[in-house]
Structure formats: structure tokens, C-alpha cells
Amino acid sequence: MGAAGIMMPALPAFSRSVSAEALLEPGLDVAVKKRLADAALNAAKSMGATYADVRIGRYLNQFVLTRENKVQGIINAESFGVGVRVIADGCWGFASVGDARNEAVVAQAAKTAVTIAKANARLLTEPVQLAPQKGFGDVSWKAPIKRNAFEVPIKEKVDLLLSANAAAMQNGANFVNNVLFQINEQKYFASTDGTYADQDIHRIGPNFTVTAVDPQSGKFSTRNSLSSPMGMGYDYLQVNPADKVTGVTTRYNKGYDMLEDITAAAKQAKEKLTAKSVEAGKYDLVLDPSHLWLTIHESVGHPLELDRVLGYEANYAGTSFATLDKWKSKDFNYGSKQVNLIADKTQLYSLGAVGWDDEGVKTKKWDLVRDGTLVNYQAIRDQVHIIGENESQGCCYADNWSSVQFQRMANVSLEAGKTPLSVANMIKDVKKGIYIIGDGSFSIDQQRYNFQFGGQLFYEIKDGQIVGMLKDVAYQANTREFWNSCVAVCDQSDYRLGGAFNDGKGQPAQSSAVSHGSATARFNGVNVINTARKI
């Protein structure tokens, strides 16, 4: 990500540009989708498939892009098609077809999938073992949105972004890039198990970068928004005092105040220019949920994906230190007793929440790490037998109708502390520490041992007091040492979600959106480096 850069979510494959109004047109009627799905399932079975599932997907995206007082672009895109996955001769096969609106076309895709499965079966070392799954009949699920973002006039969105940009410029910013991403996945799933699930998934992500420049010194600094992408509608942009967490800077829960945050960001970007450069060494870190979500994502979410543990991602994302023998020992100490990490595909307002996953499993919540001990992984139907279970955990996902579904990360979160503890009281006990807010640079090795994280805002803590802003801060740690250095987690009243729109995995690469919740947590004696350089 460059100086002016904001990470753009990629448009789904085969997206076509449409008008904003087209995003509000209804997709195919459920009865039509069911007819198409049955055509695919019957064709697959007639060709000898022992299992088949079909996903009929309509993916709608709207991006509003601005900088300073200009609208740089408005992108409205739609992608529609059908993906069919089968097991034949013990092997997976997959085929997809765009703009499929009649039975013959989807039946042909099913036949192609069976042909591919049979062709590849000769290269298999063992047949696919699929965990049994009962059929749920006709079911549906809808994201808990109060205001559909696609129904909000473009003008209202542009006005919000440009007024926020103006506030940034008035408060000392030299530049501001401000974007709003809105996504609606209309997914219909059907399988030979007898499930027909119609789901309506919404996500929203406001995101800005404010830049302050000091031409005299030739230095610049940035501050990104403290918003999070959410599984919500436009209601996320509804200002609500109850969703604000005040302190050294305001942070947000389920309602984001863009004007307030961008005003603070402009002032803080300027303040960063003259902030004290950190002295490298060991510090106690107090990590806000707007920061900690990314550390959870990289050092817990990814290493506990069973496909990585087994080696299926060895050529791309990597494998995992959390090998099966460690899990089998039942006493592998992942973190301190305070550390409870949970996977949850049902969490309200999260990016990963759905009713049924992309292989017809009803979603659920389960423990990964309990009282510091590794107790489980994230696994799907063709893997769960390896960890001795006979039901999938429901975390199978494909990013598009044209992509084949595979194991993706559930929302993975750190449970809030059971004992009442506020952030102010947590900081009070810290002698030499750094309070980090917002996510920044991130990097971790391919087995998830060694990581380095930056942030947006760094405050020095001395003898229980915040004494000023720091810059050039990054911390390096080993996953197990880090989670074992966790000495306290604030209570539920501080619990908030952070998240990623664009978690990449697989070849060809697929993107998925996932949230991570936590309350502010304290980690003792973490190695902090100074990142200042001269060129």
C-alpha cells in the first residue's frame, strides 16, 4: 500500500459495469433458481456423481472513490453465474458458467464438472471422504441490515465523503483519499443432500487515508480511518453516541462517525510529523481492538486452518506451526490462561456471518483455544474426519460463482475478560508501555511463528499515564510467546469488531471477508523496533 493508497477490494470475477439502479433490480426468483439448481444436480447424478452442489450467485458491488474535493469514480458492478461442484470416482470436479438462465446451460456445466472429476481421479492418492450432512429443505438467511446501502442515493454518499474530506482539509490535512465500498452477495445453494438455501449477505466498508506533509523537512505522515468493514448496511454510517468509545481518541463499535474520525485523523497526522521517535526495546503493549484484530487474524485465524496444517496451501499461503500432534496432545499451550479464542460463523454484524456455508452446513460457533490450550481447528466436510469429527464446522466459502469453494477462515475472536476491567484501569498499571490503536503494516512467516505489526497511533505509557505520541513503532514477536505474554483482557463493554475485506488464499487466489472481535488487551515485555531510516 503506497502513501496515498487505500486497498481496493477486487471486483468479483466476470463483473460487468451497470447503472446504480440496476443494483436494485431483483435477481432471479427463488423458484427459478431452484429449477436451475435441480437441473444441475440431476445432470450430475445422471453422469455418475455421488455428490453435487450448485451455487447460483449474483454479486453486486458499488465503490465510491473520492480525493479532497473531487469524486474520482463511482463503480457499479454485477457478476452473475452458476458454479457446480461434484464428486465422481471419488474426486472433486468443478465447472462454472456465467449468465446462466436456462436448465440446459447449467446441466452442461454439471456434466463438465463430472468429466473433470473423472479425468483427475487417476491422479488421486485417496478418494474424497465427505462428512455426512442432513438436508435442511428450503431455508433462507438475511444479513441483519437496517438500511440497504444500495438504496441510499449516490448523492447522499458523495455528500458524506466530500464533507468529511473538507473537514480533514480544514483541520490540517494536505491530502485525503476517501472511499466507500458496498457489497451484496445474493447466493442460492443447493445440494444432493436436500438443502436449498437462499441467502442475502451485505457488507460495507468506509475507509480513508489522511496525509500531512511538511515540505521543509520533506517528511509526510498518514493516518487511516479507525472504521472497520462490517456485515451491515448503511446503518453502520449512522452516528450513535452509544457506539463510541472515548479516550485518547474516539473509537467506534456498530456506528461509525466519519466526520469526527477524519477531523481527529487530520490533527493526528500532523502531530505524527513531530512525534517522538520510539526507543527500541521491550515494552508492555496495550492493544486496542482496532489494532488487535489483525494480530488475531494472522497469528490465530490462519495457523488454525486445517487445510494449511495438512499442507494444501504449502505452495502459496504456507503451512502451520500448529500441527496435528500438538492438537492431539491436548495440552499444547497456545497462550496464557487469559486467552480464549473462538471461531464463530454466526456472529451478528460480522463479515463472515451466514446461515449456511457454501457446502450446506448450518453455521455455528466453536472453541479454538480454551484457557490458553489449543482445542480445535477450522475444518470443512472433506477434512473433519482427520480431526475425529463427523460434522463440518461450516466454514466453506467461494468468493464467486466462478470459484470453487474451499476452507476459509471463520470470524475468529478473543473472548472479553470475565472480570470487570476498563482500558483506563488497564493503562494505570503499566510502567513502561505503548498503547496502539488502528492497524498498520503486517507481516508473518509461512508457518505463523514470527510476526511484525505496525499501527496507526502509538502513545507512550509511563508509570500508568499516557505521556505523548510516538512514531516509527513496530513490534516483533513469536506467536506462542506473544499470546503467552497476554496478562489481561478488558471486559465485554470494550468488545468491538475489526476485520478484513480482502483476505487472500488459494490458487487461483480468492478473497474473503472476515471479522475479528476483542476487547483491549495487554501483552507484557514485547520487542519493539524503531523503523526510522534515512535514504
Binding site: 503506497g2 472433486w92 462454472s96 473433470i116 492418492t125 520533506g218 499442507g311 503451512t319 506451526f321 526510522a532
Partner: protein, 450 residues
Amino acid sequence: MAILTKEEAKKIIDKVLAYSKADEMSVSLSGNRTGNIRYARNSVSTSGESDNLALSITAVYGKRSGTATINEFDDASLEKTVRRAEEIARLAPENPEYMPMLGQQKYLDTKTYAESTAKIDPEFRATAAFNSIDPCRQKNLTAAGYMEDTTGFTSIGNSKGNFGYNRSTGVDFSITVRTDDGLGSGYANPDVNDVSKLNTKATTEIAMGKAMASAKARALEPGKYTVILEPTAAVELLQNMMRSMDARNADEGRSFLSKKGGGTRLGEKLFDERVTIISDPMNEELPLSPFGGGGGGGRFGGGGGDGLPQEKRTWIENGVVKNMYYSRYWADKKGVQPIPAPGGFILLGGTQSLADLIKSTEKGILVTRLWYIRAVDPQTQLYTGLTRDGTFYIENGQIKFPVKNFRFNESPVIMLNNLEALGKPVRAGGNLIPPMKIRDFTFTSLSDAV
């Protein structure tokens, strides 16, 4: 059939432009066919193929533009899509940075297409995968790999009379080989336009050699070391730096090329005098699309951009910054010629091989791959990341033993000042990169990862 000829493409584009009632109209017609095969644990996991053909129409009224896309090509559908683009444009907000479309341009005839790649079928992919898996099975090693082939074309045209067409092919193959005890890992990742230049067995054998040689690595203290970076290791750091050479960011004071007191560092010597970086779409080893811009050309020569022609350009010459990218808007504002970002770049080197570089090293570390590289500070181009898939200690001109992986924090700008030697460039990640010897490369911690 997703791959149209130049004549077929021009016929459709001309038809679309004839329907236009807008002030200006541009059309981009592109198609591709991609196929892939993925394997892990010495067994095929997924495989697929897809065709795509899409026409994108942009209508402009004044400074308002609208785009509509279609994949049906009958007259009624084309006209309907033109009207849709015009309707979107009328409702769009003005873009004060809009630049009028380019008139007729002259494009180079680059050699980005190879018939051998266009002919790849599922059987070819299965055989390529088998040739990679089989030698690993025989040596009790585990292969995880991926091959993706693409054949495509892009054609652009507009109401000011411009027209361009380019066909391209590409193959990306990557292979990771791990020892059964999980203590060794090796990697190889060639990319070619012409699949006849790819041998998956020979490539896998390189990764196998690294996997076996990297097992039982010893820990060295982190710190500053002389390193030899193989091209696969160096490419991403250099590519990140090259992608940061945008003139507007530099003028605005938010780039490593911004100058203290204002302005840019164009014309300044920022690197060792042996550093010369060029781009050349006609290079035989790295042919690139003849047009592109804005976001740059595509990895395999695709990408329409705004139609600026790609030419041979020098970005850094003998350590001096010679050119930056100028969008058409920014170039107009600054009174200079627009320069598109290149689709790939070439760091000129010498004639020495990797083996020669190792031979001339008294003490150092051979880095074969860097991984999870992320920007830490865009001001100084500081990046962090880790070594992966084979890192080795060199003493008295010989590889002595494998070492555990390191995390690094380093800037390619500093790296290209601490240059000891450059070898012969080879293609890596869509660029031509020499193996290079760098002193004082900064490793900040150790990783247990294999």
C-alpha cells in the same frame, strides 16, 4: 471462441462507435481463456478452465463519463449498451481531472503471443503436474504446485480515431517441495510467454535440490550481513520501489522521490552508479503490451489503460532518477509528456552467474526467496518480510550450511546503494532481474518457520 482476430475486433469496435451520440466514446474489447491445475500432498487438488469475452463502453459528456459492459455482440445488444453507457455518463458527477481521449497513436508490434501456449489443454496440464509430482514421490518428498496458462487479447478504440490490438499468452508455474520430516523446503517460480520454454520436471528438480539442501538449518544471530539475493528473492522489493515512482505523489510531497523543501528528486543520483533500470516492450525475453497506462500494462502484456503507447524507457541510469510516471492529467498540469507505468522492468546487470557471485563471497548469506513483504514506511521505502524456502551460509566462496529463516527490515533504496555486484539478469515475476550481492542487509529477528 474468446480470442478474436484484429479484424474481428475492429469490426465490433467500429460498429459500437457508430452508435455513439456522446461527446466522446471509447471501447475496450478483451477476451481470454485461462486454465489451471493445482496440486498438494503429491496429489491433484483442483483444476479448472474458463473463457471470458467482454466489451466495455465508456461514454463521455463534457467531464462526465459512464461505463457499461456486455458479453453479447448482436447489433441490438451493442446499441443498447451504448445507450446505457450514455445514460450512466449523463447522471455521473463531473470529474475535474478528466482528460480528452487520445487521437490516433502508433503502437509497437510486440511479440507477446506464442501458439504453443494457446494450444494447452487439460491433458497437457495433467502431464505437466505429473512430471512435477512424480520425481518428488520417488524421493519421498512432497510437492505442492500450481500452473496457470492464459491466452488473451485486448483491443481498444475510440471516437477520436485511435485503435490498438494485442494478443498475448503467459504461463505461471510455481512449485514448493518439502522434505517428509518438514525440515526442508525449496521453491521455484518461472514465468514465460511461450510454454515450450517451461519444463516442469527440471523446475521441480531445482526446488527438490533446495528442499534437501535446506533441511536441518542452523541459527545465526540476526544483524547486518552481506547477502546474495537470487532474482526470485529480489524481484518483489524492486517491483515495490518501481511502483512508487509516480510523479504526482512525488510532487505532492508523499513519496520517496519527494524533495526536501518541495519538488522531486528527478535528476538526482539516489543509487549506486551501476544501477540502471529500463523497460522495453520489444525485449525478446520480456515482451510486453504496446499500450497501457494509468495502472500500467498487464503482467502478460494485456491491459488497455488509457491507450498511451509503451516504448523503451530509462527510469534510472547509472544511479540517477531519469523518469517517473506521469498520468495524462498530471503531465498536462506540469507541462510535460505523459509517461505510463511499464508492464515490467529490466535491471541491467553483468555477465556473472549466481555461482560466480557465491564464489567471490568471503562471508555471506544466500537468500533464495523473500516472502510476505509489506511496506513499513513509504517515505523511506522500508519493507519487512522473511526469507523462505532455502537460506544458506556462504564462507570462502562456498555454501557451507543451511540457516534458519530471518525477518528483514530493509529499503530497496538503501540496498541499491550497498551494491557489491550484479550478475546476469533472468526473468522473474514478469521482470528481468540479475542475482545481486548486497552488503549490510538488515535481518532483525529469527523465524522457526520452514
